[in-house]
Symmetry: C2
Subunit: 477 residues, 2 copies
């Protein structure tokens, strides 16, 4: 039998908190008949969010390609969904069952470029669009391209989405942490970037790229234009590629705030030197089509040799799945005003976004009122990264621990808390240690995706649990 | 800008012939108005093979989940497709838009295990099934798990499917070639395996696994039970994991031959020590659903720590796409005799398989009649790996070349031939060098997927081109 000690040690080092031990335990409790509220992952349709009607109607028609032409079918599908399906089948005459171009169907790549131009008022080219199985696969393609040896480093925000730390570990690169500024609504801080970069270089690391997640995961923070400019300037100065994870671009809740893309700022600053990879997905926003695995990566300022390598990499994986490509197409080219499906599409979209906003406000508001807990202000994405206090344990002296011991100790306490929350309430959240946090602080990430009627109860349960758990710690001998 | 010289050197070394320079040239000619016959890749639906009706009907229904319950819908879908869609939506109440379990939807994993039991008469467990985005992603997961350092080697057949060589290069492992026995219908030869293994060990390589493709790609060979037993014995002796690529298991054409799975032979020999990964896909067989990216990996004799690492790896990629999972489900659980869709399903299946058989016979028969060309006997899969003679070039002395020079020289001549074939006839095949061949021999791989009416003309065109091209070489000064 293969021997565990001989297996990929990089894989062994990788960890992916969003689906780790705590989720396994939740699944086990569920099989034992407990009701579990999965707040561990941004998976809207697992929490009763219904898929939007129009994209699914179109998919339904193109999967069964003779359907659009069957007499009487207009009783079951609106005219524009049928029209759209015909258009898709005309643009991809091989249908959904043939391998597509490695970078995706040409007409969809073109539609994505046009979407970027409409969104940002900047030029975009279909050639620079790669359709991917969700954003994750795009991120991994970019990181594969950029990782050449074990000293190559990726600067990632702390807290971060663990895809980044897991992929860095898996590819044998170096993780270079920069802390987000919790006091300043989790924006990036230039001094912190400089400090992080310098510390990495001092350790012999060669930073090759900086990862930015906007709107933030797990923080929900929306970056200001100034902040984005600063990051691009910093990247240019240090010859770093930029990986802009923009999958929550539709999830903006704070009044007066708006999403600004890295592509737009890059274009407007006239920077033709900094290589930018940006990522989008059908899994988040209001579509929430996680299971369909659709998304795209746009590249800018990419030398042609690098482009050729990226294309080769995609060709080794053949192509992304065609249903995901079609949903991506509908995402970037939704029904337009005046078309039969538009009113329903708009209503479904707005209801989902308004509900997310309301639920964000309920969650953040409720959490902020709990003694010893803080969630800041809801801005965007689908999460709250909740900070909570834990009373000191008697007989433990942090100042006597090595850094590593302290991290392990605090990480264990963080996990114990979340595991107890799960056992007590059935609420499944992810310990902050999985995303990264400043030593001495404790967080958990929770989505605000559960149905409205569960949200108030959710906060109440967390409150009651927190009181009981911290009391228990305080009373420990 | 990112500098090409700093990019992933392993990626740069990787090559993937099936979608390389020759295909780029074909696409270019096509935009110039030339008719191209794409024989480079097993992509049936790009060559006018129609998707089977039942799987697409079911997908169409589940993508639009309110459809199965709409009155009147039975005019458009047979009762068993509607019933099946309802069953699927009951088994996955979150629908196709939610992330599934990292290893795929539990009911589909169970159906796959039952399929293996029905096919082979052996026990199989849903726990050991991982649903993947096509077989390629399963293969890459297994290779990720097994590659620990740069001396770890994978024994691969020559000729092979270039996914293997590309992935080995990309992951920084070592490629250990063993030649298939062209004289003996491309079976594996034990002496050759021993020789290959010993030569690798002598070079400091640590072989960790052996890859076998059955039915063969590009060879079409179907392995005998004896041959499979020999491979498993060899693997056990040398503590190698076995990667069995069985994606062409439905594509068996030779009278009296049948596909035998590695799982069956492993089970029957009572070997509880050799770790086996086997792979299947919806892309080949008679479904030909390449674009849907569905497939599975089954693992056997897997230690639980390795299993946990594999599951973690899959969780970092979240899950395979849900439409691909559904098609995989239909593949392993097709309509049964007595159900309304069965007659059409059977007719479509049998027509495709019979046509493939006829086209294989036409292609192999025609090729074998061309002077200086040989394709052997059609057994399985979707390809012929055609050997052809090339007259010596005057003024070139192979015996004076280093091994590397000779390989480069012959690889160039192989490519020139295929490129000229493309320019002259519009037929796009892949040079044998992309799959590997014994030095001094020349091959190309062609599919026999073009529509029946094109097949005879195809062989004629190859014949005429070959005569002209070899004459031209002979007449060169």
């Amino acid at each position: 039998m293969i021997k565990p000690e001989n297996l990929n040690s990089k894989l062994k080092k990788a960890s992916y908190a969003v689906r780790g031990a705590i989720v396994d335990r939740a699944a086990q409790l569920e099989t034992e008949g407990r009701k579990i509220v999965y707040c561990n992952i941004g998976n809207p349709q697992a929490l009763k969010q219904k898929p939007l009607t129009f994209p699914r109607q179109v998919l339904s028609l193109v999967e069964y390609p003779e359907l659009p032409d069957r007499p009487g079918i207009e009783k079951f599908y609106p005219a524009d969904a049928i029209e759209r399906a015909r258009h898709i089948l005309k643009c991809c005459p091989n249908g959904l069952g043939a391998y597509t171009h490695s970078a995706g169907m040409p007409f969809i790549r073109k539609a994505v470029a046009e979407f970027i131009t409409r969104r940002d008022g900047i030029p975009a080219s279909a050639e620079n669009i790669f359709l991917t199985d969700g954003a994750s696969k795009g991120v991994q393609a970019a990181m594969t391209l950029l990782t050449n040896n074990e000293n190559d480093g990726f600067m990632i925000p702390i807290p971060q989405y663990p895809l980044y730390s897991a992929t860095i570990a898996l590819y044998g690169a170096k993780q270079v942490n920069y802390y987000l500024d919790e006091q300043n609504s989790w924006q990036l801080n230039e001094e912190e970037l400089k400090k992080s970069y310098a510390a990495a270089v001092k350790k012999g690391i060669n930073p090759v790229a900086i990862v930015v997640i906007n709107p933030g995961n797990p923080t929900g923070a929306i970056l200001s234009e100034e902040n984005i400019k600063m990051v691009l300037r910093f990247a240019r100065e240090h010859k770093l590629a930029v990986l802009a994870d923009e999958v929550y671009q539709e999830n903006v809740y704070a009044p007066g705030m708006k999403f600004i893309s890295f592509a737009k700022v890059l274009h407007e600053t006239g920077d033709i030197d900094t290589t930018l990879f940006s990522f989008h997905s059908v899994s988040k926003g209001f579509l929430g089509e996680c299971g369909q695995r659709g998304g795209y990566m746009e590249v800018r300022n990419m030398p042609k040799e690098a482009y050729a390598e990226l294309m080769k990499l995609q060709s080794i994986g053949l192509c992304s799945n065609s249903a995901g490509q079609i949903i991506t197409y509908i995402m970037v080219e939704p029904p337009k005003e005046g078309e039969p499906s538009y009113p329903l599409y708009r209503q479904e979209r707005d209801t989902i976004l308004q509900n997310l906003k309301k639920k964000a406000e309920m969650l953040y508001g409720g959490i902020n009122e709990i003694e010893g807990m803080k969630a800041g202000t809801p801005q965007g994405a689908m999460y709250a990264f909740v900070r909570f206090d834990l009373p000191e344990e008697p007989g433990r002296n942090i100042s006597e621990m090595s850094e590593e011991e302290r991290l392990a100790y605090e990480s264990r306490r963080n996990m114990d808390y979340c595991m107890a929350l799960l056992e007590e309430t059935g609420i499944c959240v992810v310990p902050g240690a999985g995303f990264g946090q400043i030593p001495g602080t404790f967080h958990f990430r929770t989505t605000f995706l559960p149905p409205m009627e569960d949200m108030a109860g959710l906060v109440e349960k967390i409150k009651a649990f927190n009181r009981k758990y911290t009391e228990m710690l305080k009373n420990r001998k």
